[in-house]
Symmetry: C2
Subunit: 383 residues, 2 copies
């Protein structure tokens, strides 16, 4: 097929291999690690037009374009990344890496543990948001990028964008933080914990060593996904999409009843279990739970943001109840009080937390306009 004209086209990943020891926040040292990544667009001569995309819980490096000519489904944020799109690859050099601990090519639980010669499985060390940012900084070094024009992420990706601004103030011009939070609530942690328990309760989890045993906790991982998925949608959005429509059965007698939403969820769970790794799911949800940068500053978020030099764009969505508008307001308020350059918008949407993946017109226009200002700030000319 021909890829659409506003697509980055057929893409192939690269692998960055860091050959030196890398100490994680938990104290464990990885003797080396690999990050798989994709790039879209071209780096300009002054190396000023690089944009880093940080992915969320179930994302990966394949953010835009198609992997082969018969590929019918583009990368997860193809709606926003491409020539002429909000994150315009005619202007920006866009980098998207699979996080450390991921399951799509970066070093993670499916990688061979050099000590045992078997997959790490549950023995892969705990990774936190800071570790991801540090490893991404090493990737940036390797690519010769001293400073990003923008670092952009939704949900867990937004946490990375914030952490970048704090860990590497001089390396971030703009941080775009979408549908994120400065820390998870007890409710959020609870949903993540139930998802983890669904995985570990599956007898095929085998204490996390399923890969070595060539089995797979598909039911548990499917359940985890279903729990996540329902909470990433909104009640209104689900009503619009499914209502109480039946797939089969008779509601009056109760015989053989299956609601459309039930069959949809089952499909979502099964499909996810095919493409994702259970240990990575556990690792990623823990990184979400543990993120709490203000904690080491007496829970003072204003003080926590003090080192940041970036300008910030904070976006949230009206029906997002996992990472609600109120959580984004906390970030905005702290940034204002810390006297940072901050813009923000609350986007009306029926799509709950998943809104950040959906090309809602106001959302993409705000992104486009903001990144236009970034181009102006940095005197970036079209390549």
């Amino acid at each position: 097929m021909n890829t659409p004209v506003d697509s980055v086209g057929i893409v192939a990943p690269d692998v960055f291999r860091h050959e030196a020891p890398f100490e994680l926040q938990c104290g464990t040292v990885l003797e080396h690690f690999e990050l798989i990544y994709e790039t879209y667009g071209a780096l300009n001569a002054t190396r000023s037009n690089a944009v880093l995309i940080c992915h969320a819980l179930s994302g990966n490096h394949h953010a835009a374009g198609y992997t082969h000519v018969d590929d019918r489904k583009p990368g997860w944020w193809d709606s926003c990344i491409g020539p002429g799109k909000a994150i315009d690859t005619d202007q920006f050099y866009v980098i998207s890496a699979n996080n450390l601990g991921g399951c799509h090519g970066s070093t993670g639980p499916l990688s061979l543990n050099p000590t045992t010669g078997k997959p790490y499985g549950a023995d892969f060390p705990t990774v936190v948001v800071k570790d991801w940012v540090d490893s991404q900084a090493l990737l940036a070094d390797a690519l010769g990028i001293q400073k990003f024009a923008a670092i952009i992420g939704g949900s867990l990706g937004g946490m990375q964008a914030m952490q970048w601004a704090m860990s590497y103030p001089e390396r971030v011009h703009a941080a775009v933080v979408i549908a994120a939070a400065a820390k998870l609530s007890a409710q959020n942690i609870a949903f993540n914990e139930i998802a983890r328990q669904a995985i570990t309760a599956d007898t095929n989890f085998a204490d996390g060593s399923y890969a070595s045993a060539d089995i797979s906790p598909d039911k548990g991982l499917g359940l985890a996904r279903m729990i996540g998925h329902v909470t990433y949608l909104s009640d209104d959005g689900m009503h619009e999409k499914f209502g109480r429509e039946l797939k089969s059965g008779d509601l009056d007698s109760g015989a053989g009843v299956e609601f459309q939403v039930e069959s949809y969820l089952r499909h979502q769970g099964q499909a996810f279990a095919q493409r994702f790794d259970a240990n990575t799911y556990i690792l990623m949800t823990k990184a979400l739970d543990f993120f709490d940068p203000a904690r080491e500053n007496d829970n003072d978020l204003v003080h926590t943001f003090a080192p940041a030099q970036a300008k910030f764009l904070i976006l949230s969505f009206t029906t997002d109840w996992r990472f609600s508008v109120a959580r984004s307001k906390e970030i905005v308020d702290a940034l204002i009080t810390a006297r940072k350059n901050v813009a923000s918008a609350i986007i009306t949407s029926d799509h709950g937390h998943d809104s950040f993946l959906i090309p809602l017109p106001r959302y993409t226009e705000i992104l486009r306009a903001y990144l236009g200002r970034v181009l102006d700030d940095l005197d970036i000319l079209p390549i």
Copy 2:
């Protein structure tokens, strides 16, 4: 121990046995059935002071009082039922039965299937809200109660109170419908379906025949309970109760981290699995999903309520997002349009859907005042 002065004291259940065939909405005929029930207070000479309490998903007949002298935990609605309490057993004769399909003494999946001589398990027929109401009506007949002064229920219990008013208009003076809905939303069905899948995914579920095999799907049922429990609480309530408090571990390194909310949830899940039956959980959640009385009236709720003669009290709670204020407003609006006698209140509470079990002062005072009017309506004098 001495039970508190405002307690109904030590209680013992009775069993009602219906010896005639009973046809369920699904068409299956039970040759006979039993309902276990408790009563508190005394029936007056005119038999006009009976109140029926309808329980929710995980409730049972033991609504008030203590089962033995060393019992430290009273029945599930002891805060509202007792001498001088909102549902005053000095005035009312209160009846609380375990629903058909339950697991605490009424005929249900744990009962012996007369055809096989083994527990019904998953072969127990589908039961819907109408069946419960019909079986409760037979219990009322047996107790010589022609008309209830009030039928009161929260959540799934509220659905029964509504169904009573429609199925037996002449037998209900007042219907008190608390934290309920005229039908579940897609989101609600989704959470119930995930809970069911958590149960059936447990290898110990054994297609529902675990009781015959003397095993028990405790992990799956525990997960189902955790999913339900989190959704019955509110984000604010969980923040108040747990915040991000740690039970163990170090958040910066991520080593051995356990949040308080995680250990709490695990305990809730484990405790529930000890006291509840998985097939009953599946059956009860399906009854919730299937309830949709307007469906057979072209989705016209006003027309659906037309036969009702009862007066209604509809209560909802601000932070309840499973059975939200909006769902109760739909009921109130339909009742007003149907020209019924309806009072309603929205109670401010941090406790989410669980609020209906909690003795919030405004809530209990409204219940007390409304039932006081019922006493006046019916010229009920203290016994």
